[in-house]
């Protein structure tokens, strides 16, 4: 395997890890208004992701940074081509990120309500838009002869990309609910609400994934280039999703979370397989010849060799200490009326 291919798949891995990890912390934030009825419950739900969300979010910076260094042309075309979407994602992440710290700094109902809203909207918007972006990567952008992307906001929203957005949004909500099952005490009422949410949003997520795959097949010719084996991925995404229902009804929470994680993995990999098998990382909707290919967007060999060394050393290290972080904070959370302490 040459380094261009290797790095294409490492970027796929980075995006997959990002969707897997931030997927559940987005999900928790989106579900919180419907799950929490009291202030301690609100705090318990935030507490389930408190020590993790920041480390999870860095994976998207890693995805952008690795894309910049190994596929600069692809990076430039995607990020400038979908400019309004990335602005919206950035604004959402800005407000959502600070909501964690700022929500309880001022003792006022309206202040808290404002930041709750920010953390909700700030999670819904990126959850939806990442699906739109992934769908647009498959569908293509108006790339012109010079490899520049021209096009406005409206072209970002096609039926296929909107369905893609709905799919990631629902998948993340399901994933967040499953994560809560692992993080909340099983004897709390919150835990029961999270189970019901997982079943409810899981059903909708299944519909969305099936819809996305079928539409990808019918209108986008998504799997024409897949050959026999890669069919495995969309089918597997559906099967894992279906198995969640079984796992939930048998109270196998770990299995349910693993399965929603695998669904996200299969869904993301499907997008990257679609790009890889066509050899185009950004197809053109203007003329098939204008699409950006893997080779022409990649960095030179020297940079790729250097990045391979760097990635080879640091990626396992990062994954290692992040796992340790999850291990340290493995205890389950319960809503606690406990006092707010005074002073330090």
């Amino acid at each position: 395997m040459d380094l261009v291919t290797l790095w294409f798949w490492l970027i796929a891995l980075t995006f997959t890890l990002y969707f897997f990890l931030e997927g559940f912390d987005f999900g928790v934030d989106i579900l919180r208004p419907t799950l929490a009825r009291t202030e301690p419950e609100e705090r318990a739900l935030t507490g389930t992701i408190g020590p993790f969300w920041d480390g999870n979010e860095v994976w998207v910076i890693a995805a952008a940074g690795l894309m910049f260094s190994t596929f600069p042309v692809w990076y430039g075309a995607v990020f400038s081509g979908m400019y309004p979407l990335f602005v919206a994602i950035l604004l959402a992440l800005l407000l959502r990120g600070v909501s964690f710290e700022y929500r309880n700094q001022v003792d006022s109902e309206r202040w808290r309500a404002f930041w709750d809203w920010m953390s909700f909207a700030g999670s819904v918007v990126p959850s939806f838009l990442w699906g739109v972006i992934m769908a647009k990567l498959i569908e293509g952008m108006p790339v012109n002869r010079e490899g520049r992307v021209q096009g406005g906001l409206l072209e970002m929203f096609t039926p296929f990309s909107l369905l893609g957005g709905a799919t990631t949004l629902l998948l993340f909500m399901l994933h967040g609910a499953n994560f809560l099952l692992l993080r909340l005490h099983t004897d709390t009422v919150l835990y029961d609400r999270a189970r019901r949410a997982a079943l409810r949003w899981g059903a909708l997520a299944t519909v969305a994934v099936v819809g996305f795959v079928v539409m990808g097949y019918v209108t986008e010719g998504l799997f024409e280039s897949f050959g026999v084996l890669p069919w495995f991925f969309p089918v597997a995404a559906f099967l894992t999703l279906a198995s969640i229902w079984l796992a939930l009804s048998r109270r196998r929470d770990t299995l349910a979370f693993t399965m929603s994680g695998l669904t996200i993995l299969f869904a993301t990999v499907t997008v990257f397989i679609a790009l890889f098998t066509r050899g185009e990382v950004l197809p053109s909707t203007l003329d098939p010849d204008f699409g950006l290919t893997l080779e022409e967007t990649a960095s030179q060999q020297y940079t790729l060799v250097l990045m391979t060394w760097v990635g080879g050393i640091f990626l396992p290290l990062i994954i290692g200490y992040q796992i340790w972080n999850y291990y340290v904070f493995r205890e389950r959370v319960r809503p606690d009326e406990g006092s707010l302490k005074h002073g330090y």
Binding site: P72, Y75, E101, N325
Partner: protein, 474 residues
Amino acid sequence: MDVVELSRFQFASTSIFHFFFVSLTVGLAFLIAVMETIAYVREDRRHVYEKMTNFFGHLFLINFAVGVVTGIVQEFQFGMNWSEYSDFVGNIFGVPLALEVLMAFFLESTFIGLWWFGKDRLKPWMRLGSIWLVAIGTQISAFWIVLANAWMHHPVGYEVVEGQARLTDFGAVVFNYKAWLYFAHVQGSAWVVAAFFVLGISAYHLLRRQDTDVYSASLRIGLVFAAIGTVFSVVSGHTEAQVAREDQPMKFAAMEAQWETSDSPAPWSLVAFIDEEAQENSFNVEIPIVGSVLAYNSFEGRYEGLIPLNEEYQELYGEGDYIPPVAWVYWSFRIMVAIGSLLLATAFLGLFLWWRRKRGLEETRWFLRALVLFIPLPWIANFTGWIVTEMGRQPFMVYGLLTVEEGVSPNTFGEVLAGLVGLWVVYLALIGLDIYLLSVTARAGIHRKPEAQLVAAPAPDYEGVGLQGYERRN
């Protein structure tokens, strides 16, 4: 205004807002690590240093998150607004950026959580290790991003092939002398920001005679950092200016508003009315000889003016106007230097007061009052410093290789404007909130509960029981 101007303005605003938060993060992480180390080592004084660590740690966390999220904008905007630039430099410029993420961002964001939340579940040495990893992470992060920036000012280790800068020698990029100078300067400046932040807050409470055991100690830690930081900044800044005279002469001439080549020995301009249209200074107060001393450490030596340099640049790089916005650079430079000198003097005056009498610092109340007033000054110096270095290299984006106009994305005016307005609204809100919350929490001090506490980071208690929402082990 066109797309280029808007994009430039957006990049400048994002970088300046981002640096507002991260300069405090980078400096304060180190100070807190030192505080916690003292708490760990000195058992007899542990209660004092633990309170100090937690108090400043709380302030650190209020500010930390905003630095993180504005950093995402930084990382995305190269592709979003400068896609042509990204195509051109990605082979080289992307590497330090990726290294920054892999070596620093993950480290900081993971271990900050472990440090703060893990207080009741990690062993003391692990907590100490965590804050040191955060502190080291912030320095690594500063190093790589400044290295990337320095490459834009002084490109090395590359060749241009098919319209792309290709990496030929990564060692040359890492050992770019400009990078190390910039790093020393940014590092020193971040320490100055954090040191004067700690000094000002400590002085505020000492003036009210609250918790003098804690704040006297933090004042002394702050002073040591302030002294080291200001010396670092001044020495590296001085060297930077001298180096700029050689490798970015246009920037140097703009800093001095020197239109024609100077005499030898060269005077130093103190105040000038700059007429950029007519390319002359209508009024100029000059101090003889000082210009040569600053530029050459010598009593003679001349430097080239903007007008002759512009002609040279035109021969080198083709038709065009290569003179940067002179008045901006000139005045920003002067403000930065004035503040830097004032802070250097303040730090050493503090050390002198400390050395002269045991309670000399606590009893010199005018000095404490000055420290409170000086809190914003390092930020102003940083802001003006970035204006000098970044405006001074206009119109180039990569010095001598790519102009700003060539680097911009093919975006429409409307989408860039809409994004810019959105970002500005959020930035202003965040900076306002950050300052408001920092000052409320800082003034509340150690015993009064801050208005409420951080959700993601409940106020800790070393001896006490667990944190909200978590069960204690066993």
